[in-house]
Symmetry: C2
Subunit: 319 residues, 2 copies
């Protein structure tokens, strides 16, 4: 969560003349999104989010993200809708950054999701996957199973081995086998890739918004399901909350029933999803100074989840 | 600019039940205020600012700040109005911090103030000083002339002498004389103390809001005027913009004409105002790691202003 770039008031006023949004009334940098600078922008027309893309986002990916958000919102999902300027253009430059304006979404993210919350996100995720299967846009997953050995190497370089001495032998062993075991064919489509509680807003028990699609890509839908189960259905001690996971899966399957191969692969997909976040957290942990403003996320949380999934026998262990 | 503390959604909902503001609709941490955590809060009733006081603010001062803001807003100044709960109480505890809710102020702060902007703030500052003279609340200025020798000592400890080798002999010399020369009696009252461009919002060329009263205290009104002249009327190269300063002072004097002793003391007050920010910036510079999220403010900017004021002969050099 960070604001990296300041926007000059004169520049903002001139920039907004490209749009049909009226003059700016207020513009506050907000602590949302780790990769970009985000502003809550009020204009004479209403409330919007202005996003400036910082260096961690590849500009070549931006048209894909805009198209995906446009497609999802056009199909009824409550995610940020890119606002086009008077010439129909979405992506612009402001303060020397690529940028775009989006619709504002009401709601609060939840710290302690209830069963009702996980039911609600099961439904939203199922709807998103159904819509995503028909979207013509595709993007390879840069953090797919093929990338994990490289991530492990990166995590191992430097002081990683000292910080997490018990983790690395098991990780190396697992990554020797996992790519071969990984399914080669399952129902695919657009996945969110980072559907964590931070990125979902609620009004009461209903999902009012899903944000931060900057990990969106094409991959197995059930792998995204596994990511979300990891992020929403575990206790702090690393044990699965079976009530939540069964409600979550049941609610998802009302929108998109899982195929038999998806169910068979589910424990492995959950292992992989846990590994993917364990590996990126290990890399970030070692590259983030302890006093930096961005909060480091604990790799151990995902080590516990990963170990849990290595012991499950099948889909029925999750419901 | 920073958000230090997260507010849990359940805690926020429970907290708002004390108020007549309805349920929360959204709550975004905003990059406003260096000392506190600020949130842009939307409820069923409207838009507000929620401030959580972090450790740099003395809790004993909070009732004074609330009273001052209440007094100013009751007398027509556009500053944050503290919102009382159902029992008339303004100060509360949330996320283990003292906190309060304030009215939301529209407007944008300006990066490059125009002559019209400095005329507008001259008028607002004059109004604020007139109102502040009748306010029964008082608070000693913890950063007054008496505190500067101590600040210099703090700046000198550690590596300061190495970073700014040319500055310190002159500073020591100046601080040997300045406390004796400082006026002992001038019109006093509530001063803002930190009336910088960051803390003033405009809609067009009109002041729509003044924020961040956490340096407010009782002191010479003309000293506050000197602080504001330093903050708004200089070029980046350290030279005074005489057009801006004369418009600023003329506009201020339409609200509150300066007395002869105030005019006579003005160059010295300007020197002092420059010194005060030079000293705190030196202290902060040496205590802020280069990679910290809070941006370090350049002490040299205020060294240049200080040197300028040491060469002026009288009030007429400013208009």
């Amino acid at each position: 969560m960070a604001v990296y770039t300041d926007v000059d008031d004169d520049d903002l006023r001139a920039f907004l003349e490209n749009y049909d949004l009226g003059a700016p009334i207020s513009c506050k940098g907000i602590a949302e999104g780790v990769e970009n600078s985000n502003f809550l922008l009020r204009t004479e027309r209403g409330q919007y989010i202005l996003t400036l893309y910082e260096k961690r986002v590849d500009p070549g990916d931006l048209p894909f993200f805009m198209d995906v958000l446009g497609y999802f919102t056009a199909n009824g999902l409550t995610c940020p809708r890119p606002i086009a300027d008077k010439n129909g253009v979405v992506l612009h430059i402001l303060a020397e950054r690529h940028c775009a304006i989006f619709s504002f979404l009401e709601g609060l993210s939840v710290t302690r999701p209830s069963v009702a919350h996980v039911r609600a996100i099961g439904k939203t995720l199922g709807q998103m996957h159904k819509i995503g299967q028909t979207c013509p846009q595709t993007r390879n997953n840069p953090l797919s199973v093929a990338s994990w050995p490289e991530l492990l190497k990166e995590a191992l370089s430097g002081k990683a081995r000292d910080s997490f001495p018990n983790l690395f032998p098991a990780l190396e062993e697992a990554l020797a086998d996992l790519p071969q075991q990984w399914p080669s064919e399952l129902p695919s489509g657009l996945i969110h890739g980072d559907f964590f509680p931070d990125n979902v807003f609620f009004l009461g028990e209903n999902v009012s918004g899903v944000i931060d699609f900057y990990f969106a890509c094409t991959d197995f839908l059930a792998y995204d399901l596994a990511i979300v189960l990891n992020a929403w259905c575990f206790e702090r001690d690393g044990s699965l909350n079976l009530t939540k996971s069964s409600h979550f899966l049941e609610s998802y399957e009302r929108e998109r029933p899982l195929t038999l191969p998806e169910k068979a692969a589910f424990p492995l997909l959950c292992q992989g999803a846990a590994l993917r976040f364990l590996l990126t957290r290990l890399v970030d942990w070692l590259n983030t100074p302890a006093n930096a403003f961005v909060r480091r996320k604990d790799p151990n949380e995902y080590a516990l989840k990963w170990r849990f999934h290595r012991k499950t026998k099948g889909f029925d262990d999750y419901r």
